[in-house]
């Protein structure tokens, strides 16, 4: 095998050898014996290793000189064609900017965990059936598709929560509703998410001010309360700590502000725009058209579930327990048992998954394209 630098070395040796040969021949022509001529030639040539080393030095720094020349030449050419240079610089800047933005977005959407302690303990509870189980429910609020559904009845939630007690904490929440809000005479519109009383304690989120919900808030007897997201408190209420304990009107019903969420908690997924959290039992979604609460109705599946496994409890230990309890909360058993919904636990560390599901493929496509092109 011949390396390029090897070739340069042999070249140099041959060149030096040739010089010595010629010099020796010259001395021989002058009448010296071969041995003497060789000695004289070597003496005259000087240290041949030294010469070789100097030649190597020339080569060794060649790349540096070359680089300098390239840079100077490049700069001169760029000065000469400012329009092309500007176009090149702009397209590079745009390209780098766009890629940075995409990768930042991927970081948030695909990879970042929810800003709560031990996010790896979280799991989203879902079920999968064959089609829509009309035998079991009259109405639902949640997402439902070929890949599964995330909606449960409130009675199911209560039974499951009790059944996993000691192995896991189970909290419920609903999709946010747009509500009209009025505080101190100023009206605005916001997103309100109903959550169970143990929602924040399950996520282990803390209050910036005041307190978050407990189970006692999530009851018909309790006064209607509300917890504000940090961004709502800052952007709409001007970070005024004086709002604590005051009453705000949500859809024309009075609510007492009991707490402000910590700044780090952005919600259940990146980009969650929830402004207010309210106990499930006071949430507007749980009222049937007849004005009755839907929470004792096991044919209205209107809440989503998130679980936090106790330390050292695995999905495999948790799921059979839940799967046994789940069918006992149904209003009826499906005639064909094979069509019955069966439970599964999804990774919950990064929060609700629909953003990820929706954008993972386009984002990964983009990255794949980037990798291929560069």
């Amino acid at each position: 095998m011949r390396f390029p630098w090897k070739k340069a070395e042999t070249d140099l040796e041959r060149e030096v050898a040739h010089h010595l040969h010629e010099l020796t021949a010259e001395y021989e022509r002058q009448g010296h014996s071969h041995g003497e001529a060789l000695r004289m030639a070597k003496r005259e040539f000087g240290g041949s290793e030294q010469v070789k080393e100097q030649c190597r030095d020339e080569r060794r720094w060649a790349w540096l000189t070359g680089l300098r020349q390239d840079v100077v030449f490049g700069a001169r050419m760029m000065r000469r064609t400012p329009v092309i240079t500007l176009a090149a610089v702009l397209s590079l800047a745009l390209g780098i900017g766009a890629n940075t933005a995409i990768v930042s977005l991927m970081d948030v959407v695909l990879w970042r965990d929810l800003p709560v302690p031990n996010p790896r303990q979280l799991a989203l509870v879902e079920w999968q059936g064959h089609g829509f189980p009309r035998e079991l429910l009259d109405g639902a609020s949640g997402s439902f598709g070929d890949s599964g559904a995330d909606c449960f009845s409130y009675p199911s939630f209560r039974a499951l929560r009790q059944g996993v007690s000691g192995r896991a904490w189970l909290a419920a929440f609903s999709y946010p509703d747009t509500v009209s809000i009025s505080f101190a005479g100023h009206p605005t519109v916001g997103q309100e998410r109903p959550v169970s009383g143990n929602f924040f304690s399950t996520l282990q989120v803390h209050a910036r001010l005041g307190r978050l919900f407990s189970d006692s808030d999530d009851s018909d007897a309790a006064p209607a309360t509300v917890v504000l997201s940090h961004h709502f408190w800052v952007n709409v209420l001007g970070s005024d700590p004086g709002v604590m304990g005051k009453t705000m009107s949500v859809n024309n019903k009075p609510r007492v502000i009991v707490g402000i969420l910590d700044k780090s908690f952005y919600g259940l997924f990146p980009g969650d725009a929830t402004d207010l959290y309210t106990p499930l039992l006071h949430g507007p979604r749980q009222e049937t058209p007849e004005g009755k609460t839907a929470l004792n109705n096991n044919r209205f599946w209107g809440v989503q579930l998130i679980a936090r496994r106790a330390p050292r409890v695995s999905d495999a230990q948790l799921l059979p327990v839940m799967a046994t309890i789940f069918p006992t909360t149904w209003s009826a058993q499906p005639k064909n048992a094979a069509n019955a919904p069966h439970l599964r636990l999804e990774e919950g560390a990064r929060g609700l998954g629909f953003l990820r599901d929706e954008f993972r493929d386009p984002l990964l496509c983009w990255v794949h394209w980037l990798v291929c092109c560069w």
């Binding site: 070249d11 040739h18 000087g46 030294q50 010469v51 020339e58 080569r59």
Partner: protein
Amino acid sequence: MPDKKTDLIQGTLDLLILKIVAHSPIHGYGIAQRILLTSKDILQVQQGSLYPALHRLQRKGLLKSQWKESSNGPMAKYYSLTAAGRKSLQAEMAQWHRYAGAVALVLES
């Protein structure tokens, strides 16, 4: 016997090499001999500077080289001028004449 041979002024070796090589392709030993001969035995090229200079000039793209059989047998590396080398030789020569003339003017004043 006093040695009349003179070492080259720094910077002139490249010019001499370019000039010698311009005639016809020639190997390193030949260049040293030719410089000594044409300068009537006055300009002595140190081998230790000749080969590094040849390699430097080749790297700059002023010289190109080729291995050929020499007149008396063994293979030798023959150097010849590139187009850039030819241009550089003209510029360097003009520069040298200007320089030498200026030095002469000062010395003769």
